[in-house]
């Protein structure tokens, strides 16, 4: 008995030493992830973390990046710019990460982008949508793999132009994202259709992020008599708005409603059948919009491991890891400058479809999806039916329009 015990211990030691040597021979590739992990939007960070972990495990199982294992370091941006900058510095200087992936809030993204120049580390944005970071504020180290605000709003404008609504208003969060969504919606929709009325900003509704009682805004929009409403609320704000709007008769069919981020599964899982049917909703990625083997494998693996369908944020983190791994394989290196060079113009088949990183502004050009909410007895959440797909080139503004000038 004792002998066996000693044998057992020695085997364990041996295994430890062996794995240690393997480990020492190839230093892991370190990826830093920055998402909102606490506070009211923490569920977005949770999904992203799951997506990242799934991708890292898949990459490691397939032999890692150039034979080196991949290790993820997760930090909480808390949705605040100063914290975002601090944790990215910490990731680069203390953990020594080879690249940074993430960012939910546009505010954080705008503040962090200039810092990447100083850190000389590639950043792949997977959620934050402000046009600035691949526009006027763009730089060599900043990339975005997800659809941005312009691309999403371009689809919204196309759908709105086909509808009957004549007078448009908006309900959006009272920070740059809500205001920019409304600004671009007016711009793109008036290019497509004339004779429409857009309510001025003080007649539209911009509730602060901290709002939990949306009744005054719902009353405001209903009494404005607008027959089209663009809603750019997201997360808990959108859930509260939908529930209170349901009670107050907002979804009575008298107005056309477009929710730019309504197809976030974080929101759909919370609302389940409380999400009204027949509402146009946008997203960055929809789990069954794409029939490719890459997407099916991702959705199945994700659903099997976490019990839910992947959200667009889960997809963003997953896709960024996969793209980084593919770029590093092509560059045969994780040298930061070489990765940046390889990512420019890089094309890869991802679950969302084919993604091309435009070399001039580092924005992903990829197909987008909008859909109408519908009930499906086989799925616990609302699904999109009909599903509208838009080609990436039709919804992406030209480089000149973005105002990006790379030095």
């Amino acid at each position: 008995m004792k002998k066996r015990f000693i044998l057992g211990i020695s085997v364990c030691f041996l295994a430890l030493i062996l794995s240690g040597t393997v480990y020492a021979a190839a230093k892991p590739v370190k990826l830093g992830f920055v998402y909102i992990m606490s506070g009211p939007f923490a569920t977005y960070g949770q999904f992203a973390k799951q997506g990242a972990e799934l991708a890292i495990d898949e990459v490691n199982k397939a032999g890692g990046i150039n034979g080196r294992t991949v290790e993820g370091f997760f930090e909480d941006s808390t949705g605040k710019s100063d914290v975002g900058i601090r944790v990215i510095r910490k990731l680069v200087y203390e953990a020594g990460v080879d690249a940074v992936i993430g960012l939910d809030s546009s505010g954080v993204a705008s503040a962090v982008t200039p810092v990447m120049k100083e850190l000389k580390t590639p950043l792949i944005i997977t959620h934050a949508a402000t046009p600035d970071v691949t526009g006027t504020n763009c730089n060599r180290y900043t990339f975005r793999i997800s659809l941005n605000l312009n691309q999403n709003i371009a689809m919204a404008a196309k759908i709105a132009s086909e509808g009957k609504a004549k007078t448009w208003t908006t309900v959006g969060p009272d920070y740059s994202f809500g205001h920019q969504s409304w600004e671009y919606f007016q711009k793109y929709l008036s290019q497509r259709k004339s004779g429409l009325v857009f309510l001025p900003d003080d007649k539209a509704a911009f509730p602060p992020l901290s709002t939990t009682d949306f009744s005054p805004y719902i009353t405001k929009v209903i009494s404005s008599n607008a027959d089209g409403v663009l809603i750019s609320l997201w997360g808990g704000n959108l859930i509260d708005f939908v529930r209170q709007g349901m009670d107050m008769g907002f979804f009575d069919g008298k107005r056309e409603v477009l929710m730019t981020l309504g197809a976030a599964t974080e929101v759909l899982y919370a609302l389940k059948d409380k999400m009204p049917e027949g509402i146009w909703v946008g997203t960055r990625y929809w789990f069954n919009a794409n029939n490719t083997p890459v997407n099916k494998a991702f959705v199945n693996a994700y659903h099997k491991r976490f019990g839910v369908y992947p959200s667009y944020n889960a997809h963003g983190a997953y896709a960024a890891v996969k793209m980084y791994a593919a770029a590093a394989a092509k560059a045969k290196s994780v040298d930061k400058e070489k990765i940046v060079g390889t990512l420019e113009g890089f094309a890869l088949e991802l679950p969302v479809g084919k993604v091309v990183i435009r070399p001039e502004d580092h924005q992903a050009v990829t197909d987008g999806v909008w859909g109408k909410t519908a009930a499906d007895p086989k799925v616990p959440i609302r699904v999109l039916k009909p599903l509208r797909k838009f080609a990436g080139k039709d919804i992406t503004p030209s480089v000149a329009e973005t105002g990006c000038k790379m030095k």
Partner: protein, 286 residues
């Protein structure tokens, strides 16, 4: 429905919810002199218990009955083992301690229920809408508008008409004197703290069908509760009622009439009150 009427109802229903949340804060401060930062987290716990009881037994009412009681018991433990040892110390220590309790409760909730958003449905009898004037309005909000004043009147009766209430006010006025005439102040303090937690959790249960339940909903509401309490008068519970009404109505009409200033208005009011009448609208002379 006329938008003015709708806005009045919007303001009243939100105001009444604010009242239920902040009244415990002001009573605890009035009697014990403690500014409880964890108050919002106790409110959040109420919402999570509402969610959990709906999941277990499918009844909102059982959650309304039992949730606040469980939170009150938790508060007894917090008062007895954490707050009591530092009564005699500096006030800043109390602030730090209750802030720490808030962080622990928030993360505890995340450990147990995860960071996702949850939705609690109103009970059958309170869902749907009723006709008011020329339009309709959600029953649940009308229920809030009625429940707020009822709780307020019950509290007022308790404080002015019962022996317990009078003892409480006596202890709040002069703790030493109350002890000399035989009031057991430590026990009283424990009970007041538990009561404050009970009513915060009651507000939490009632808020659950109204907003999404998620971690950090407490951090959020505590700021508005502080504004209510300062405007109304620290330690005055009729003050909390008035403060909550003002904030609720300001929120409702501000969104329509002064959208640019809406976010700043509560703070502007706060600043004016602090400058012109530092003890608050219904606060006692300091």
């Amino acid at each position: 429905m006329d938008s003015v009427v709708a806005n009045i109802l919007n303001g009243l229903s939100w105001g009444m919810l604010l009242f239920l949340i902040s009244v415990g804060l002001t009573v605890v401060f009035g009697v014990m002199g403690i500014l409880n930062f964890a108050h919002g987290s106790l409110f959040m716990l109420g919402s999570y218990f509402a969610l959990q009881f709906v999941r277990w037994v499918g009844s909102f009412w059982i959650g309304l009955l039992l949730g606040p009681v469980i939170v009150a018991f938790l508060a007894i433990l917090i008062e007895r083992f954490l707050i009591r040892p530092i009564y005699s110390r500096d006030t800043s220590l109390q602030l730090l301690l209750t802030f720490g309790v808030m962080l622990i409760l928030d993360d505890g909730v995340r450990l147990i229920w995860g960071s996702a958003y949850h939705v609690v449905n109103p009970p059958q009898i309170l869902s749907g809408t009723i006709a008011i004037f020329s339009g309709t309005y959600p029953v649940y909000r009308v229920f809030l508008v009625i429940a707020g004043p009822l709780v307020g009147v019950a509290l007022w009766a308790f404080f002015t008409m019962t022996r317990w209430g009078k003892t409480l006010r006596a202890a709040a006025m002069d703790r030493r004197m109350a002890e000399i005439i035989g009031v057991r102040a430590p026990l009283l303090f424990t009970l007041v703290f538990a009561f404050g937690a009970w009513i915060a959790a009651l507000g939490g249960v009632l808020a659950a069908p109204h907003q999404s339940v998620g971690p950090a909903m407490g951090e959020h509401i505590i700021i508005e509760s502080f504004i209510v309490v300062v405007i109304g008068g620290m330690g005055s519970f009729p003050g909390a009622f008035v403060g909550a009404l003002i904030l609720g109505l300001m929120n409702a009409f501000g969104a329509t009439m002064l959208p640019d200033l809406q976010m700043a208005m509560p703070y502007i009011l706060l600043a004016i009150i602090l400058l012109a009448r530092p003890r608050g609208i219904l606060g006692e002379e300091l």
